[in-house]
């Protein structure tokens, strides 16, 4: 039972991790909690659905298509709603993010109605594998492997490429990076694009896994992924990965061993606990603000 929950939690946690990465990368560079990120994830799920329904593609093409679309959407949002506020207070950017979040979710309701739709079952062949007492479905395998590949790709990008170096430089000190000749605007756009594409992948996978896609799915997932990012240490990429997976596992264990009706509260309980005990998160550094 425990191991089964572990596998389920790992699967769910991988999707949280993908979304959390977007939060953490953006926060690391511009100190903005991108409240609209959950809506990007939701858009990803819908775009994937659209591709599957219209062009009868398989899960991988759906994920790819959603990633491309949301990459552009994320960049657009940054350009329109966040860049003009780069010099203003953090509160204004936060509130602008909330505005975008409301706008996007309402837009989807207008486009597709508020009801729950689901992916047709032909998108992936379901097979179950039995390892002893645990059942693993092929869908779970796909999710785990895809998430792992994406996260590995991200790590390589951040640590082995020039743009990755630029991202790391910007998150350390934006002004110094600018002085070093880094085109900060482009790096920020790129970061948003990257985070959004990962969230989109997560959206498609969750949409298929839970067989439900609705315009408000981004709200809860966004809040929980945010909790995961804080748990891992907001601003830290390995932190977001660890936080997401840990949160998924804890949530599943909580459902199994505590009351399942409180499952939504588990994520937030962890969030509050982390903020009280170790506000910088698992992988974050305790920073002191200097004048």
């Amino acid at each position: 039972m425990f191991w089964q929950q572990l596998i389920n939690g790992l699967t769910l946690g991988s999707t949280y991790a993908l979304i959390a990465l977007g939060y953490t990368m953006v926060y690391g560079i511009v100190q903005l909690i991108n409240f609209a990120h959950g809506e990007i994830y939701m858009f990803g799920a819908f775009v994937g659905l659209f591709l599957v329904l219209t062009f009868k593609v398989n899960i991988f093409i759906a994920i790819l298509g959603a990633m491309v679309f949301c990459m552009l959407l994320g960049m657009l949002v940054e350009r329109v709603a966040y860049r003009p506020l780069r010099g203003s207070s953090r509160l204004s950017a936060l509130i602008s993010a909330i505005g975008v979040s409301i706008f996007l979710s309402t837009l989807m309701v207008l486009l597709r109605g508020p009801n729950v739709t689901s992916y047709p079952s032909e998108v992936i062949k379901i097979a179950t594998y039995n390892l002893g007492a645990i059942e693993v479905s092929s869908l779970q395998v796909v999710i785990l492997v895809t998430a792992a590949i994406l996260m590995l790709g991200l790590e390589l990008l951040v640590h082995r490429t020039k743009i990755g170096k630029a991202m790391r430089a910007c998150s350390q000190d934006l002004d110094a990076a600018r002085l070093m000749g880094i085109n900060v605007d482009r790096v920020i756009s790129f970061t948003f694009a990257l985070g959004s594409s990962l969230a989109a992948a997560g959206g498609v996978m969750v949409g298929i896994y839970y067989n439900a896609v609705q315009p408000y799915m981004g709200v809860m997932a966004g809040l929980k992924a945010f909790a995961a990012a804080v748990l891992g240490g907001i601003g830290s990429i390995p932190g977001a990965m660890a936080g997401g997976i840990l949160l998924g596992i804890l949530e599943n264990l909580g459902i199994a061993y505590l009351a399942s009706s409180y499952k939504d509260a588990i994520a937030f309980g962890i969030l509050i606990l982390v903020l009280f005990i170790r506000p910088q998160g698992l992988f974050g550094k305790a920073t002191t603000k200097k004048v």
């Binding site: 953090r90 509130i95 207008l110 945010f226 909790a227 903020l275």
Partner: protein, 301 residues
């Protein structure tokens, strides 16, 4: 008084006025926390729900008199505010926003699962003690108290925390203490507002107090002007009436809302009457009436 009003004013208008009054109380509470002290609280609806449920349970299950329920609601909300606030507000940064989001969600889930709170069905049959007179007398009292607070030395301390927390601390302001007190007062008002809300609608359920509700109150403070009491009142009036006025574009209302927030932040981040205080309003009124000369080059108030 009530009957007198009902003779002259359409009952529908009266109902809107009551709702506006309740929202003003809640928005002023949030204004104190977020607008004046600069601590973004995204869980105002959570404290409102604590007040609403406390009041409802005391009234329905224990038959307590209304004034008791009202007071208990405020105190309960303030108590939870202090419990949450103390560990959080000693940190600098956006932590309060994160914690309040989480807290409001936890509160919602707890009430969804508590038997005494009626679980998913909520509580109905709450005695309808809220009427126009009560609400607006409270509004006037609260506005006066708030204005007095913000003109005083502690009020200036709160503003200073918003402006530059490190400088305030260095100037001898006990920032943690002031932040917690502001948070306690703000959540107290949220509890009062929640109780009035419960006794007005006579029915509450966990769905009434979701994240979007917190966002609505934040909108009222932001639109009207953060830190400004007349601004907050203006924002509340506009946004409470908007759904009624814009009923014909009901589906697009939220689209408009979201776009409004973004546009507002880009072009007028301080809201419509940002940082305008009563003294400024009185000044402008006096100027318009020719009582005092219009300054030629100098800046106003």
């Amino acid at each position: 008084m009530e009957a007198l009003l009902q003779q002259y004013v359409d009952i529908y208008v009266l109902q809107i006025m009551v709702l506006i009054g309740i929202n003003i109380i809640l928005a002023l509470g949030l204004n104190l926390i977020t607008g004046v002290t600069g601590q973004l609280s995204m869980g105002h609806a959570g404290f409102m729900s604590i007040g609403a449920y406390t009041s409802a349970i005391l009234a329905v299950n224990f038959g307590m008199p209304f004034w008791f329920c009202l007071l208990a609601a405020g105190l309960m909300a303030a108590l939870t505010g202090v419990i949450i606030g103390i560990p959080t507000l000693r940190l600098e940064g956006d932590y309060l926003a994160m914690v309040t989001i989480g807290f409001a969600e936890i509160v919602r889930v707890v009430f969804l699962n508590l038997d005494i709170a009626g679980r998913g069905l909520g509580i109905s049959g709450i005695p309808g003690n809220t009427n126009f007179t009560l609400v607006w007398v409270l509004v006037i009292v609260i506005v006066l108290l708030n204005t007095g607070l913000l003109k005083s030395r502690p009020g200036r301390a709160l503003y200073s925390i918003r402006e530059d927390e490190i400088a305030a601390e260095a100037s001898g302001v006990n920032t943690t203490l002031y932040k917690v007190v502001a948070f306690a007062i703000g959540t107290f008002l949220a509890g009062i507002g929640g109780s009035l809300y419960a006794h007005y609608l006579t029915y509450i359920s966990p769905q009434d107090f979701g994240f979007m509700k917190s966002v609505e109150y934040l909108n009222m403070v932001v639109l009207g002007g953060m830190g400004s009491i007349p601004g907050t009142i203006l924002g509340t009036v506009i946004l409470t009436m908007a759904p009624e006025v814009l009923r014909f574009v009901a589906d697009y209302r939220l689209l408009f809302y979201g776009g409004l927030l973004v546009t507002l932040m880009i072009f007028r981040p301080n809201g419509l009457l940002g940082d305008v205080r009563w003294v400024d309003v009185k000044h402008t009124w006096a100027r318009l009436r020719g009582r005092i000369p219009t300054p030629s080059n100098s800046s106003d108030g």
